[in-house]
């Protein structure tokens, strides 16, 4: 009886401790903001408690035995070593527990995988190391990168105190925006290697597989900002491709769509005019930092040890512009150099290429957006 009390006491203390610690340390799975995430959380808690209870029984028996059945207490070993009855009992009981777990797990899984009757669709494409979002019905497309400020802080020995940055590594330049109360279907794929799109508060993650499309869906009840990140190792900067989903009321969402479309028209017009070298260089420098510096490094020296070539003094960045445009547009198969065709507008790509051809001692002239348009 004494042990039971001690155990009960320990248990209460443990629970109280976890309760108070919960505010400072994240300990448990999020309940999330969708029906799915709540179902997943409930399943998680059920199976956790099943394990805790079985654990208490098994470890309790062990600890009892360790305390009382030791030689120093004068215990004499019994010689029993078989009991078919017991073996049957502890085969049947776990089976019953497992079957009773499998039933709710199955219903949840079936609900999770039902992507029918979606009200809108967003195509998600994973790239090394950024996410691209294409809104199928609303005809919006943009790329979501790690926020530039975070990108600076996360460099090796950046000297920036990362604790001073809000939501360090979980902030992007342009978040995905979705309306609340609508079933949104996601079509998830990748352009280069495997990635996985994961926002814990939505209740799931899904791999992004190049050449294949995986479907998932969500329906968020409350407006809010929900953060996540890539969950499948995708190379050097796997840790630096966060996801931010902003859920807005349908009216706010419509306003965002209109604003986004206006910006797209402006951006397209940018590609139709002549740019000065200074304009291209200024735009190119910041775009280079977001898109290229991970591998080719901010100083253009690359990381030869990791197979990322230098651009400073390189044959391509100093040779004919066509070859340079071609590699940025189409990538280089068999390497980490991806195709930027779908990721950069004409003006953006012209700015990056111009920057690469004129920075770090390179001197190979400017490239206008029109040249990119022609090469596409």
């Amino acid at each position: 009886m004494r042990h039971l009390t001690i155990k009960a006491l320990l248990f209460t203390v443990l629970m109280a401790l976890t309760g108070t610690a919960l505010s400072e340390y994240a300990l448990n799975l999020t309940t999330g903001v969708t029906e799915t995430s709540r179902q997943v959380y409930d399943l998680h808690m059920i199976i956790l408690w099943v394990c805790v209870v079985i654990g208490i029984i098994v470890f309790g028996a062990m600890i009892y035995s360790i305390i009382y059945h030791r030689k120093s207490k004068g215990a004499v070993a019994a010689q029993f070593h078989e009991s078919t009855k017991m073996e049957i009992v502890w085969t049947i009981i776990p089976i019953v527990i497992l079957v009773s777990m499998a039933i709710p797990a199955t219903t949840t899984l079936l609900a999770m995988t039902n992507t029918s009757d979606a009200e809108m669709s967003i195509k998600i494409t994973g790239h090394q190391w950024k996410w691209q979002y294409d809104y199928i019905e609303d005809d919006i497309s943009f790329v979501s990168n790690l926020h530039p400020e975070h990108n600076k802080a996360r460099q090796l020995n950046s000297g920036i105190d990362v604790a001073s940055i809000d939501n360090y590594l979980l902030e992007v330049d342009e978040p995905m925006v979705i309306p609340t109360g609508k079933k949104v279907r996601f079509l998830i794929t990748a352009s280069d290697v495997l990635h996985a799109w994961w926002v814990p508060e939505l209740g799931w993650k899904q791999d992004a597989v190049p050449g294949f499309i995986n479907e998932q869906w969500t329906k968020v009840d409350e407006p809010g900002i929900y953060r996540g990140q890539c969950a499948e190792l995708c190379g050097k900067d796997h840790a630096f491709m966060p996801i931010v989903v902003v859920a807005k009321s349908p009216a706010d969402y419509e306003a965002w769509v209109a604003e986004k479309k206006g910006a797209a028209v402006e951006a397209a017009a940018e590609g139709d005019r002549e740019w000065s070298k200074d304009e291209l260089m200024a735009k190119g420098e910041s775009l280079y930092a977001t898109n290229c510096a991970s591998c080719h490094m901010a100083n253009g020296q690359g990381l030869p040890a990791a197979n990322f070539p230098a651009l400073a003094g390189s044959a391509i960045a100093n040779g004919p512009a066509d070859a340079h445009i071609n590699i940025v547009l189409n990538g280089k198969p068999g390497t980490a150099m991806a195709s930027y065709r779908a990721l950069l507008s004409d003006a953006d790509m012209a700015a990056i290429i111009t920057y690469e051809r004129n920075a770090w001692g390179n001197d190979a002239g400017i490239v206008q957006p029109a040249a990119i348009k022609a090469a596409r």
């Binding site: 035995s65 030689k71 073996e87 460099q155 090796l156 994961w198 840790a239």
Partner: protein
């Protein structure tokens, strides 16, 4: 050399050849077993050093020590060294040392192949480690080698693939040797159902290895041709499928998980009855449970792939099959507890490790059961929850069993007792630190920290700091193990033949240390 001597000198015991050539040319099961164990220990320390780099970088948020590419190569090579370099060779070493002594044989059935299967290993791992000095650095795509990422890897790629081929070759030869020995070399009266469980679990493990290693070899060869011969097995652009690699890989790697744990079950099943002074409870159900686990291990592989976008019928099948594994595994745990029940227990170091194994392996088993629930795995997958899970089953599971086994049989192998006080200290410091190291990783995973990242959001800082501190202590305390082993080899209190009061089995009837050819005359087993 030694065989030439044996031809005209088989009436009295003779020693091994002298000097370095003894170890190069040896066909003796104890020499080879010893070399396997030393090799495993070196790889364990090297892989551990890499883990220290990982934990040092994760000590606080922000990047302080290594660039992300190097970090990724640390996680990748840490896993390859620990799985293929430490745990598997340690088990093969134990098999070599123990199986002939346990079944009453003079040596392994195929001694020359035994020599070859060991000597392949140092070259395989030199090849793997040499990639760190090549253009592109060490492999950084994860030990799972998923394409297309692994195909971006630099000059070291073919070396990585060929080193895996060699490791597989070595494992297959070791396994054939175990099977042939067990079926042909048992002493009269040693029926299959009288064999110690360590022999049983190894016999089943050997079949798993022979069945799955060629599958891995095939998968990595397909990677090789995809990279160099223009095939597109795993490239959608050429009609292939990157996910197909995962299916093939895990068809190997899930049985591999049991390859890494079944011999551990055997070791623990030897230690617990000895120190409980009571026969193993449910011997035959243990054998059947091992066989069931081995069978189930072939039909659960895709539970590593719940988020790849499988059809829902596939997810349901793999979820149910995976949950089933809890049943035979549970039987084993219940049997160990029943063996302890009403025993007359003492807690020397091997017993401490065995009891630690049962408790902490079971914790890893619980998180495994949680991971089996497919809809919840959509949250757990690829997070630190998974990292915590497999380190509980591999470190406090497989490695704890190996350590316990080393303490248990070390007096038999060397003829000297190890220092009990130091052994117990090693156990307690390891057990406290390993839990500080891995238990908080459950919380990190649940709170949303993905695995394989060198830098993380600030809310994960506290648990990472605690985990790293535990890691440093655990890492350092393994040097104590090295010290204890070396000290025991060099001398110490002489061990009796039986060594432990409650020990049963043929190996304990031999002198400590045993003669060069374990049983020159077959013992009789009643």
């Amino acid at each position: 050399m030694s065989t030439a001597t044996a031809a005209h000198d088989d009436h009295h015991d003779h020693g091994p050849a002298k000097g370095l050539m003894r170890w190069v040319t040896t066909t003796n099961h104890k020499d080879i077993g010893t070399m396997y164990l030393i090799f495993a220990l070196i790889m364990f320390l090297l892989g551990g050093a890499m883990a220290m780099v990982i934990r040092a970088e994760l000590f606080q948020p922000g990047l302080q020590l290594v660039d992300p590419q190097f970090f990724n190569s640390m996680t990748t090579v840490h896993a390859l060294l620990m799985i293929f370099g430490a745990v598997m060779p340690a088990f093969t070493g134990l098999a070599n040392l123990l199986i002939p002594m346990m079944v009453g044989a003079p040596d392994m059935a195929l001694p020359r192949m035994n020599n070859l299967s060991f000597w392949i290993l140092p070259f395989a791992f030199l090849m793997l480690l040499s990639t760190f000095f090549m253009q592109g650095g060490g492999p950084a795509g994860g030990w799972t080698l998923y394409p297309p990422l692994v195909l971006q890897y630099g000059d070291g790629f073919p070396f990585l693939i060929f080193s895996i081929h060699l490791m597989g070759l070595s494992s297959i030869m070791g396994s054939i040797n175990v099977i042939v020995t067990v079926f042909n070399m048992r002493a009269p009266g040693m029926t299959l159902m009288k064999m110690p469980l360590f022999v049983w679990t190894w016999l089943i493990t050997a079949y798993l290895l022979i069945a799955t290693m060629p599958v891995l070899a095939g998968a990595v060869t397909m990677l090789l041709t995809d990279k160099f011969a223009g095939t597109s097995f795993f490239s959608a652009a050429g009609g292939g499928d990157p996910v197909m690699f995962q299916h093939i890989f895990w068809f190997f790697a899930h049985p591999e998980v049991y390859i890494l744990i079944l011999p551990a079950f055997g070791i623990v099943s030897a230690i617990i009855p000895t120190f409980a002074r009571k026969p193993l409870f449910g011997y035959s159900s243990m054998v059947y449970a091992t066989a069931s686990i081995a069978f189930l291990s072939f039909i659960v592989w895709a539970h590593h792939m719940f988020t790849t976008g499988m059809p829902v019928a596939g997810e349901l099948f793999f979820m149910y099959a995976t949950m089933m594994i809890a049943v035979p595994t549970g039987v084993k745990v219940f049997n160990w507890v029943s063996t302890m029940w009403k025993g007359s227990m003492t807690f020397e170091t091997p017993m401490l490790f065995a009891v630690g194994f049962v408790i902490m392996f079971t914790i890893g088993g619980f998180s495994g059961l949680m991971l089996a629930i497919a809809p919840v795995d959509f949250q757990y997958h690829d997070t630190y929850f998974v990292v915590a899970h497999f380190h509980y089953v591999l470190v406090t599971g497989a490695i704890y069993a190996i350590m316990g086994g080393a303490y248990y049989w070390l007096p038999k192998w060397t003829g000297n007792m190890y220092n009990e006080k130091l052994g117990k200290f090693h156990f307690w410091i390891s057990t406290i630190s390993v839990n500080v190291l891995f238990f908080p990783q459950h919380f990190l995973g649940l709170a949303g920290m993905p695995r394989r990242i060198p830098d993380y959001a600030v809310q994960f800082a506290d648990w990472n700091l605690i985990s790293s501190l535990g890691g440093f202590v655990f890492g350092l305390s393994q040097l104590l193990f090295v010290y204890i082993v070396i000290k025991t080899i060099r001398g110490g209190e002489k061990a009796t033949d039986r060594v432990w009061e409650g020990a049963h089995g043929l190996e304990w009837t031999l002198p400590s240390p045993p003669p060069y050819h374990s049983f020159s005359e077959a013992p009789e087993v009643k």
